[in-house]
Amino acid sequence: MKHLLDFQGWSREEVESLLDTARVMREVLERPVKKVPALQGFTVATVFFEPSTRTRTSFELAARRMSADVVSFAAATSSLQKGESYKDTLLTLEAMGIDAYVIRADAAGVPHQATRWVKGAVINGGDGQRAHPTQALLDAYTLLEALGSLEGKKIAIVGDILHSRVAHSGAELLPLLGAEVWCAGPPSLLPQSLPGARLTPSLEEALEEADAVMVLRLQRERMEAGLINLEDYIARYQITEERLGLAKPQAPLLHPGPMNRDVELAGPLADSERSLVTRQVQNGVAVRMAVLYHLLVGRER
């Protein structure tokens, strides 16, 4: 594993090995002194061409917990504002001796392009509508914690599937661990096909006997583009107590955040015991520590 761009070509063993490492990291985070020297001397750059506070913070904390040096590059405060290209930005960082780049961009493929320009490891921190592999890994980790195994488990992903990098990466990763992924959303927000997932415009079909439900954030820009009507979406696709009754009892709820309360998810459910949102955030740091470790040090422990 040289880069983490998506899960194309990944084996179950590779995923499980990464999640095993994440479990070790999770233990580290429970200790009073939450720091190990594993990445001492390495430098990790978070390069966010699209703003995102939570993913960037999670990656930076993960790198620091492993004693790596961290440099942070955010578009809003950078020379991109002065017209510098992504390539020139990355080449500038390359000249500073960066070992790993966490790249977030609003356009699909920017992390792939970056691998042609820099020598260091590239981690996709979310590229447009394409992929968000560390989100999928932390979702898988959280689901495994809650369900024990994903073998034969039905996972429902609900919302704007077409434009969701979280849904795309989930559909790529979860079946590798034996899960059956169902994606439900309004017809205009469903892709023509999504390898790894069954697609349905019927929320009920996806929720029926589901072992877990992942709720996606509804992006405001879809409404602005005239693709859906907000009231209609809430009426037909919001996850409510009643609809959740279709799923298995105690089926957990996941959300990648940030959440639009009372849009994709009924407010009280967000704070209920079934919500694993806090666990997701905690596990995100451990999973990202594991990814950095695998990319920079290798698998041997």
Partner: protein, 425 residues
Amino acid sequence: MILIKNVKLVDARGEQGPLDVLIGEGRILSLEGGEASLVIDGTGKLLAPGFLDLHAHLREPGEEVKEDLASGLLAAVRGGYTDLVSMPNTKPPVDTPEAVRALKAKALRLGLARLHPGAALTLGQEGEHLTQAGGLKEAGTALLTDDGRTNEDAGVLAAGLLQAAPLGLPVAVHAEDASLRRQGVMNDGPLAHRLGLPGNPPEAEAARIARDLEVLRYALRRSKATPRLHVQHLSTRRGVELIREARRAGLPVTAEATPHHLTLTEEALKGFDPLFKVAPPLRAQEDQEALLEGLLDGTLDAIATDHAPHTLAEKERDLLRAPFGIPSLEVAFPLLYTELHLKRGFPLPRLVALFTDGPREVLGLKPLHLEEGAEASLVLLDPKEAPVDPSRFASKARYSPWAGWVLAGWPVLTLVEGRVVHRVE
């Protein structure tokens, strides 16, 4: 006097030779040899009429950092083109007789390929107010188009066809429904959805062609002279079907296809390289097959490059922000000679027709055939293979989707009215 000895001849009518072609006074004097000051051995090579490109973006005036007349017209003659139609979407757009005259005069001074400037159909290419077609025609414009933009106002397009009809000027359209295309950057379908890139559906092209054919019917009904519609860079199976039906029904419509739509598909986007970002986008295999059928059965008239140079830095932006366009003037013929003729058995005279008589007819020019007395605008093609090397392009766009492809049929000599404008020793 130039003598090209022992050379095989090919034009839209067929192949003949080898013969000895004597050239002087800008004409082919004889196919039976004669005395000449310059003797070129044509053994193993092919002589064809000079090519005409209906669709090239030369970027002058205003965007000379991407291309200019000197670099673009040199690229053209290196590609075997003796004639070229430039697109008017420059900065500012070419929408006045003065601008057309300035381009023509400058191209004449350069003495490379002959320039037939395309002019805007509407002022500033804004799709609202028609340009002065008569004055533009007088200044030497070859066709009217708002290419780069889509003609959203059908009434303006109808009026444009009507005013161009008595002048014999074709109106060329970039047929995409902009409201259906939206922000699409690649062909819409499972692959675009998987790659997370906004899709531009094939139906956006088909819908706009269907509308434009109705606009043409309307103009035809209203006009005494024949209005002529030319559909640019056809890319979809459905688009080909619509043009085929329209021609069977006798509508005065012509169409072109590009080298990239004929040799590349959407699969090229898998590597996330904006070099392959183009409008209309690279489509599916079935669309490419339909284009080939259309080239064979006469539904399509011409292969046109849509040569669209940008700076490398622009093409290295991300896929949402990189500009649309693929440069191809210098590789178009060898590319299609190799990929269509040599590899797939596409008949050579038909391929040559798509570079010569086909596009000439779109502009209302007479056919150009290799016979005594014909104008000596010619290209000599070498069947020797060589890889595409963009670092040696005359175009300012020194990159190519076909870099490294090994092609045959490279132009080694280009003559415009008997004058050598390109020669590889």
